[in-house]
Structures are given as structure tokens and as C-alpha cells.
Subunit: 406 residues, 2 copies
């Protein structure tokens, strides 16, 4: 008998019919002899409806109250799923953040889980109950309702799996696993049977949207095996797990891209200590995530500073930087929204030479100019013009023979 | 400085604009130097939407889960009101049943409040916070979410007022007080400045729908003064309070009617011990409320048994009684849905003779036949044909001079 944590996203519980499908899947898992804990998101569109309500009440809604409001979405779904399971003849109980003490820090709208009280859940599991837990929400130590931020239900599921020492955490979604690249733009894309946490993290941060990066970090920290599966078919899915020897043999596991990038260059920055801090602190204060940062070698006491941000932040960044750049005596600021980031990811890179040069050569052969380069231990990213995105992805997928297994 | 508990119903918080109106009213009360606790219902229509969802998942939804589902309606409103108050520059915090420990019994869908932990609320009030509490909901001793049944937010407000020893509990609604009768059918209806708990209870049970009877019972038990007011104007409203000498001078305070009644007669029931129990137990098991019960004197070992139920229950009652009547050897069961109950209510009745006879004479003068009579210490009810309802109400209102104060 295994303990299985299953998570179903908003599209999988979008209406009563789909909730009945989820219930059938849960029952199948239970009937196969497993204990089941189910984590569900709000019905598709519901969280957005609640967010709209909050914003129609106030442009900047109080964060504590905003969390109390939007957490109702998951409460509706857990009750409906429990009602459905009961109707189908199975014991089921819904639990909210305050009922199973999913304690988080006090950072409303982006809280982090600190602890989960497993006693109530274990007691129910022993009675044969299907335990249905609201994703995305918790309570802070004072009992205020908190939410974990977008994609937080994945994190809830992994946190519960870790706390309960579950045998597996299954994440049901609208794709049936992790692919070597986006099948929509590359028909040769192949579903991976396995991927390690590190690769998954790099792929997520490089643009793959299947799993929320925080949930992968948590899974990695506690060694929770995560199976990404489709809620509409019975295909095998992809197991996200610890790195093993086999994985290292594969140089590159995936190619990702991110069109939601904009490039900012501050030209002729006086090269003095503290300059970078003065430029980037106002951005981080506004929660603007800066991705790649490149500073050229200084020439005659001046340097150029280039970085990328999400396209949605570009208006705010323009406002802030035009002031900051003047303050520090830089010549000007240039913006380019016409870019993409293309990345290759793989733990095998660590032990294989020549991966970067093969990437650059592949892009060069296609006549694609590289605007920025950034590397990590298991990822190489190149910023290119947006119009070359698909071409680059397909060329790299071919160059690293990703259509073939192993 | 007074402590004021205010309750706003679903129509008063039906949309953001109306919630802003409520917020302004709360702020006015606060600015007048009071501490304010606000209890709100779900936005009009929201509870029905959630009930529909539950019933689309199951014909007979699990009661625990049903409560978890429908309690989200109030959670949405308290957060929106707190967001709005914060936006307007006032400290406000929303609280749910589990956060201020509104502990109830375990009777899901119709739970009764056992206790309220006032510490959190008092701490917030001391800080100058407007405390916004979700009506209609509580938790049982195990932490399961319970709801109090329709009209339960009135009960929540009175329970909070009692626990906090508030100076007044204001119930804002879409009428501006308690009238001597329904102004829609009797233009001479007059708003009462004061009414005592007992009269209010009898009027509520006799068809007046302004206050939920359970909230009046609770107010009576703890001596909470309740002011019924309009949320759309500043008229004075009606104070529901302890009986005083002045009230006793008034023989009749109000005339009520209830068209939602059906009459059931079981003809030639063998007059043996236990027969009534055998007839009524199946009805109470199904939560069908039997109002007036009349049993005639037994003739030759047989009697006729007549009672009234709500029209909505008549289908179920028919099914149950046709079996039960056969079981006990009664001749037949007759049903009449074409009836109304008209009642006069007043604490003055206790010390004034001839009230009943004046009522009967008034109806007789109008040619209205009385089908059933039932009396309590401060109420006389007559069942008549539905078509005479308005005529009877107006005639009684005139006969007892209710258009004149005192």
C-alpha cells in the first residue's frame, strides 16, 4: 500500500463534470490499494474572478484581506470534490489550511510553507478516508489566511507529500509530461520518462511552465518523487526525481525558450563601487525580477551594463531607470523588447566538453546572431532576436539529437 | 463610547457600490465615537449560486462539505468590506468563524452557537480596528465549518453582541423597521418605535420575515437590544427590547399573515394512545415543521386531526401520511392548500379581556369563515381561505386601531 498525493489544477476541476472525472481517477487510485491525499486548485477562472472583485473594491487591496478573499476559490473546489466522492460511495473530507495547520510565514500573496500538521490527515487516512486538501492556502502563526502565489497548489502538494512522507506526488495537468521542448513549435519534441530536479528547475526558470519552480525546489529539498501526468489520458507522464548515473550520459535533456523577455542596456556607466546596487535595488524593491545580467569589462572607467526583465515590467523599469541612470551619470538607457531567450539544459553538460560551442555553432549555421550569453552549471542561455525563436529551438533540438531517447 | 454591532444582509452588500455604502455607514458610526463590529451576509444571490453548485454535484450533498462550500459566500463579503474600509483609510480586519472561535454544535446546516471567543475581537477594537465578522458560519468543537441555517447572520450578530456585551445590535435590512402589519397590503401600516422580544418572536413565527426567530430568542435570552433599520435611509427603525409597562397598555401591536400554509386533515382516526406520535414522528424526522395542530373531541372512539404545514412540504407530507393513515386505520386524509393564517400579536392581551372575541367578530362582520383557531399567551391565529387574507388584515388593523400610536 502506497501513500499517493495527487494534485489537480484549475482546468482539471473547471466544472462538475470534470470534478467527477477527477473523482473517478482518485477512486481508481484508492481501489488499487493506495491511500490518497488530493490537492486541488480553484476552478479555472475562479481565482481571476475573485481578483477582479478585489480590484474593483480597491486598486491596491489590503494583502491580508486579498488572501482571505481569493482563498475561497480552493475552498469551493475541495468541498465539491468531497461531495462528489461521497456521492460515489467513498469516504472523503475536505480540509482547509487552518484545519490541517499548513503554517506559512506572514508574506501575504507569496507565503512560504513552514510546517504541516500531519496528525489529522494521518488519522483520516487510517479510517480509509480520501483526504482532500485546499491548495494555494495556509495560515500564518497568528491564524491569518495566507496564499502561496500563482502555481502555489503545486507547492502545497509537494509540501504535503514531504510532510506525510508520501511515496509519490502526482501532478495532474493539461499536458502529459515534460517534453524535450515545446511540442507546439517543434514536432520532434519527445516526452521524457525521467528528469532530475536540477534540470526541471533550470527548465522552469528558462520558460517551461509545467511545474512551479518553488514546488520543484521543495521536492528536491525533501527528495519527493514527482510524477507529472495528464488528467485527461492515462499516458505515463514524466518522473521528476533525484539525478542518477543514466541521466549524466545525456548531455542535453531539453531546449526551452522564453519570449517574455526585454533587454535593457545602460550605456557608459561610471565604473565605481556601489553603482550596480544603486541600479538594481529600486527594481528588487518593486519585486521586479532581473534575469540575465552582463557587465562588460571597463574601458577608461566606463562600462556598459545589460540585463533582461519580463516584458510586463518594462514600463516600470523605464520609469525607474531613467531617473537612476541620470543620478549615477550614465550616458543613456536602451530598451529592446524584440528578444527571446533560448536555453539548453542537461546535467550531462557538467561532464561533457564542447556543449556551449556546439550551441553557438548551431545558431551561427542558421544565421542567428547571439545578443547575450549566460551560463550555469547545467544550462546555457542565449538571447536572440524574437523572430528566430522557433528556428533556434528546432535547430538545437536536432543538433543535440533530442528526438532520440538516451 | 458605545460598542455597536451592525449586521448587513445580502441585498445591502450585493455589489461593490453597495459595499461602499455599507463602509460609509460603518465609518459614520466609528467617527461618532463608537467601537464597531460588523457582521455581513453573502452577496445577494451568492449563497443560492453555491447551493446550486452543491446540488449539481449531488442531489443530497454531504452536510459537512455543503457547509464548507456555502460558507465561502460570507468569506468573500467580509474580505471585500475590509478591503473597502482599508481603502477609505480605516483600519479593518475580517474574521471567519475559526478565527474568532464562533463555536457551534455539530448540527451542520442548522448549527447553534455555543460560545464566542471575544479576546481577539476586543484586542482589535482596542487598537481602533473595525472588526468585520462573517455571519452565518462557525466551527464545531472539532474545527469543522458549520453554518447556522437561513437567516443565520442575524443570529451571528446577536450572539456577538451578547458575548461582547455590546450596547446595541443594529440589524440593517431592506425595510426600515417593524410595522404593525405589511405596508404592501395595508397602507395604514405604521412603523413601531419599540416592540418587545416576545411580540417580535410571535410576529416572526406568524409570518413577519424581518428578523430570524432564533436571533430574537438569543437577544431575549441575553437582553441584547436590537435595532432594526434600513440600510438605504436614516430613518429611526424599530427597537426590539425588553417588555416595559408602556407596552402592556397596547392590546395588539401587530397583525401578521402567512400565505405559505397548507391544511391537512386526517379523518376518523382511531383514538388510541400513541397515534399522534405515529403520525407526526415521520414528519419531524424529515424536518417538516408542523405549525397548528387541532384534535377534536373523540366521538365513538374516533377523532379528526387537523394541522398545518408549509406549502413547500405538502408533496412530502402527502406521501408520508397516506401510508401512515392506512397503517393506523384512519378513514382518509384531506389536503387544503387554499388557506392563510392571520394572527394578531400583543403583550397587552394578557391583561385585556375580549381580544379573541373582537377578532372573531371582526372577521365575521367581513363574512370571513374561520377554519382553525390557535392561541398563545400573546397571539391569536385564525386560518381562513387565502382569498380573504388582505381583507382580514385590513379589517383587523382597523378594529384594533393600529394606525394610531399608543
Amino acid at each position: 500500500m502506497a501513500l499517493v498525493v495527487q494534485k489537480y489544477g484549475g482546468t482539471s476541476v473547471a466544472n462538475i463534470e470534470k470534478i467527477e472525472n477527477v473523482a473517478r481517477r482518485v477512486i481508481n487510485t484508492k481501489e488499487a490499494g493506495n491511500e490518497v491525499v488530493v490537492v486541488v486548485s480553484a476552478m479555472a477562472g475562479e481565482t481571476d474572478r475573485l481578483i477582479d472583485l478585489a480590484h474593483s473594491a480597491s486598486e491596491k487591496p489590503n494583502e491580508r484581506e486579498y488572501d482571505a478573499l481569493i482563498s475561497t476559490g480552493e475552498q469551493v473546489t475541495v468541498s465539491l470534490l468531497a461531495i462528489t466522492l461521497n456521492k460515489m460511495g467513498y469516504k472523503a473530507r475536505s480540509f482547509l489550511g487552518h484545519q490541517v495547520k499548513i503554517v506559512t510565514d506572514e508574506a501575504h500573496n507569496k507565503a512560504r510553507i513552514l510546517s504541516v500538521d500531519t496528525k489529522t490527515i494521518n488519522d483520516e487516512l487510517k479510517k480509509g478516508t480520501v483526504v482532500v486538501v485546499a491548495g494555494f492556502q495556509g495560515i500564518d502563526p497568528e491564524g491569518n489566511i495566507t496564499t502561496l502565489g500563482r502555481g502555489g497548489s503545486d507547492t502545497s502538494a509537494v509540501a504535503l507529500a514531504a510532510a506525510l512522507q508520501a511515496d509519490i506526488c502526482e501532478i495532474y495537468t493539461d499536458v502529459d509530461g515534460i517534453y524535450t521542448t515545446d511540442p507546439d513549435i517543434c514536432p520532434k519534441a519527445r516526452k521524457l520518462k525521467k528528469i532530475c530536479y536540477e534540470e526541471m528547475l533550470e527548465m522552469a526558470s528558462a520558460g517551461a511552465k509545467v511545474l512551479h519552480p518553488r514546488s520543484v525546489e521543495l521536492a528536491k529539498k525533501y527528495g519527493v518523487p514527482v510524477q507529472v501526468r495528464s488528467s485527461v489520458n492515462d499516458n505515463g507522464g514524466t518522473l521528476v526525481t533525484k539525478e542518477d548515473k543514466e541521466m549524466e550520459k545525456v548531455v542535453v535533456s531539453g531546449v526551452t525558450y522564453d519570449r517574455d523577455q526585454a533587454k535593457v542596456t545602460i550605456v557608459r556607466v561610471p565604473d565605481r563601487p556601489g553603482i550596480a546596487a544603486r541600479l538594481f535595488t529600486p527594481l528588487s524593491d518593486q519585486n521586479i525580477i532581473v534575469d540575465m545580467i552582463i557587465q562588460n569589462a571597463s574601458i577608461e572607467g566606463y562600462t556598459d551594463l545589460t540585463f533582461t526583465v519580463s516584458k510586463k515590467d518594462i514600463v516600470d523599469v523605464k520609469k525607474m531607470l531613467e531617473i537612476a541612470a541620470q543620478d549615477i551619470g550614465a550616458e543613456k538607457v536602451e530598451f529592446d523588447e524584440n528578444i527571446s531567450k533560448v536555453s539548453i539544459v542537461g546535467v550531462g553538460m557538467r561532464s561533457h566538453a564542447g556543449v556551449a560551442s556546439r550551441m553557438f555553432a548551431t545558431l551561427a549555421k542558421e544565421g542567428i546572431n547571439i545578443l547575450m550569453i549566460s551560463t550555469s552549471e547545467i544550462k546555457i542561455s542565449c538571447v536572440i532576436e524574437t523572430k528566430y525563436t522557433e528556428l533556434a529551438v528546432m535547430a538545437l533540438h536536432d543538433a543535440f539529437k533530442l528526438e532520440k531517447e538516451g
